[in-house]
């Protein structure tokens, strides 16, 4: 009798438990596609402690982080911070703080504390009724002599035609002292990502190609209000230029007008690009950045197909393999017959290394790297 009661109670309990357990079990089987990326400082597993030289600066969810010796540090709160770059002496970070209606350039110290605000792009209070009186500043870069701030700035604009142009302004001055440097094409998004190089700047210009598609092209200019010289063709559809530490190579992202991106490098002689070499073609790559010591290229790409962007590292050996030594037979030895055919050593394929796994880095924000 007792056992029947016990059995009945056990069955009733089982019935009560099975439903919720099944419900909860199914909940654990979701794909996790919608899970929010982890903060770099909290992500597990931690970033691989690769021997990345120096300190890398990177943006996620409106905050700037530094990565040094395999550890991330959050430098700013999540408040619209993006697009870090470095002052020539490496002691300051130049970054953008993006608000809903405008963005400004700031100087931060290397610990993320605001030192000063460089631009003032919010509309004056009396003109707040019209969003068009606000301005965007993006992609700030300081010249090698530390005197000039280059940036993409949405002035002039004409009604609905809002385009970014390349501007140069005194780093310690105001936008009013700045100079319009490029003439952006109307209704294209404009000119972005200025990169100071010897004798001028390289930048990305968006414009309509011969097939009426909007393409990105790298241009070089050394004169104000001159587009300069196109470095890539419309069909290559390139953007995100990054110059190697020795100034002889450029890494960029080219899409060839497809929903794909290829990490491409080319030699740079100060006025033209050499033959292109695609070094990554199977990922949606963004923001390639050369290591200060030339040991490789860091870039952003999804960790899983269609996922948020992670930090990746491509060692130099992957795109500039050292010549494989070939054993050379020594003539004049005891062997008098024909020399044996030299045998090449097996080629070692160097693959990119995924540094982070569950972050969500801002893929339109260039990386900054201090040696």
């Amino acid at each position: 009798m007792i056992s029947r009661i016990f059995l009945g109670a056990a069955l009733a309990l089982l019935v009560l438990i099975c439903g919720p357990v099944t419900y909860l079990y199914l909940g654990t089987k979701t794909s996790k596609v919608a899970e929010a990326p982890s903060k770099p400082t909290a992500a597990t597993p931690r970033a691989q402690a690769l021997s990345l030289p120096g300190t890398l600066y990177i943006a996620q969810s409106g905050a700037i982080y530094s990565l040094a010796a395999g550890r991330f540090h959050q430098l700013t709160p999540e408040a619209g911070w993006t697009m870090p770059s470095l002052s020539p002496d490496g002691t300051s970070i130049i970054a953008v703080k993006q608000m809903p209606f405008y963005s400004d350039v700031y100087v931060l110290n290397r610990f993320g504390t605001v030192v000063r605000k460089v631009t003032s792009n919010a509309a004056p209070p009396r003109l707040k009724y019209d969003p068009g009186f606000n301005h965007w500043s993006f992609y700030p870069r300081v010249s090698a002599d530390g005197k000039t701030l280059w940036m993409a700035y949405d002035k002039p604009k004409f009604g609905y035609d809002v385009v970014l142009s390349i501007w140069a302004m005194p780093f310690t001055g105001t936008v009013a002292q700045g100079k319009l440097w490029t003439n952006a094409a109307d209704y294209t998004g404009g000119d972005v990502q200025p990169v100071p190089v010897n004798g001028g700047i390289i930048y990305t210009k968006y414009d309509y190609g011969p097939n009426l598609k909007l393409d990105g092209r790298l241009w070089f200019t050394n004169r104000a209000y001159s587009a300069g010289k196109a470095l890539t063709s419309p069909a290559e559809d390139c953007r995100n230029p990054s110059v190697s530490p020795d100034g002889t190579q450029i890494a960029m992202i080219c899409t060839y007008e497809k929903q794909a991106s290829y990490l491409t490098i080319a030699s740079w002689n100060g006025s033209t690009l050499g033959p292109r070499k695609t070094i990554i073609s199977n990922q949606m790559v963004a923001q390639p950045t050369w290591a200060p010591d030339g040991s490789g290229i860091a870039y952003l790409a999804p960790g899983v197909p269609a996922g948020p962007f992670q930090l990746w590292w491509l060692p130099r050996a992957a795109y500039a393999p050292t010549p494989t030594p070939v054993p050379t037979p020594t003539p004049g030895g005891p062997h008098n017959g024909p020399l044996p055919t030299p045998t090449a050593l097996p080629v070692v394929v160097v693959k990119p290394v995924q540094v982070t796994t569950n972050n969500g880095f801002d893929a339109v924000s260039p990386l900054a790297w201090r040696g």
Binding site: T22, S31, A34, N134, I253, K258, V364
Partner: protein
């Protein structure tokens, strides 16, 4: 066993609810008004697709904020999609929202008004009669639904073609006053977009020289990115997805057909098999009444007959 089944049913209940509410919508084609001045070419009722298994769906996307009353919304996005399962080929034809056509409800006007006059049935009938194409089904998604759908699948990866900057983008999704404006800057290049930024990318047209045509290309691009991301979704995600897009999705496709189509969608993984068509000039040209776009049916219809036989 019964308890486990009940637990499973409870888990999938939101998805089932949405599926029942949203799918299998009856298409009602409004009767044209007696003042009908139909002059569009080839109004004969089109025949069904001759290729076995091929079918055509009209995708409709609408602003459905408080500017609009009830179901009387405009369709900002109209994309005709033909799917051939046997060859895994997809053709997408974007129809300009401002195209000046004969409306199935009578009279002439911009094609984006067809839905507001007579719901999805009128939109389907208008496209069907003017483009001389057989349409099997429609899928309608509201603005907020698309944002929530993209967020529910964890965002999408897109190579945005160029910076999309707009000083007068409608702040009608989360703002208090639907006639407000906000500034938008979706920068160019490969990136991961959440729902709100994906919506800004596909909806803004002020900064595009090609206006609605450029926007149509971006819409097709985002559709393909959603399809790609959908491959990562598991059946257990359906309740969360249903919760996200509840009330923002309607389709005439029946529940059993949806179940049959899901595995099919995952098999379309070759981008070269997806053809994208936008009716740029000379297929259309500006200068129509009230800022509309005039179609050149002499060019459009042969194109449609080729890709939507």
């Amino acid at each position: 066993m019964l308890s486990s089944v009940a637990g499973g049913l409870a888990y999938f209940l939101p998805a089932a609810q949405l599926a029942l509410d949203s799918t299998g919508q009856v298409i009602r084609v409004p009767t044209p008004s007696p003042t009908d001045l139909f002059t569009s070419p080839l109004p004969q009722s089109p025949s069904a697709s001759p290729v076995t298994g091929a079918f055509t769906v009209l995708l409709l996307g609408s602003d459905d904020d408080s500017k609009f009353i009830g179901d009387h919304v405009l369709t900002q996005s109209m994309i005709l999609v033909r799917i051939v399962p046997s060859t895994k080929q997809v053709t997408m034809l974007s129809i300009p929202r401002d195209l000046y056509v004969h409306l199935s409800t009578g009279g002439f006007g911009k094609i984006d008004g067809a839905y507001s006059y007579g719901g999805p049935g009128a939109a389907m009938a208008t496209v069907s009669q003017d483009f001389d194409v057989h349409i099997d089904h429609y899928i309608w998604v509201g603005l907020l639904g698309l944002i929530k759908l993209i967020d529910a699948i964890g965002g999408i990866d897109v190579v945005t073609s160029h910076p999309v900057l707009d000083d007068y983008y409608p702040a009608d999704v989360y703002g208090g006053w639907p006639y407000d404006y906000e500034r938008v800057a979706v920068l160019g290049g490969p990136q991961h977009l959440d729902g709100i930024h994906a919506m800004q990318y596909v909806r803004s047209r002020h900064g595009d020289l090609q206006s609605d045509f450029g926007r149509s290309q971006r819409q097709q691009q985002v559709l393909m990115a959603i399809r790609q991301k959908a491959n990562q979704v598991s059946p257990e995600d359906l309740p969360a997805l249903s919760k996200a897009i509840g009330g923002e999705l309607k389709t005439s496709i029946g529940l059993s057909q949806v179940a049959a189509l899901l595995p099919l969608a995952a098999s379309f993984d070759n981008p070269d098999q997806i053809r994208q068509i936008v009716l740029l000039p000379p297929y259309t040209h500006g200068g129509g009444p009230g800022g509309s776009i005039n179609p050149d049916w002499g060019l459009i219809l042969p194109l449609v007959h080729t890709y939507f036989p």
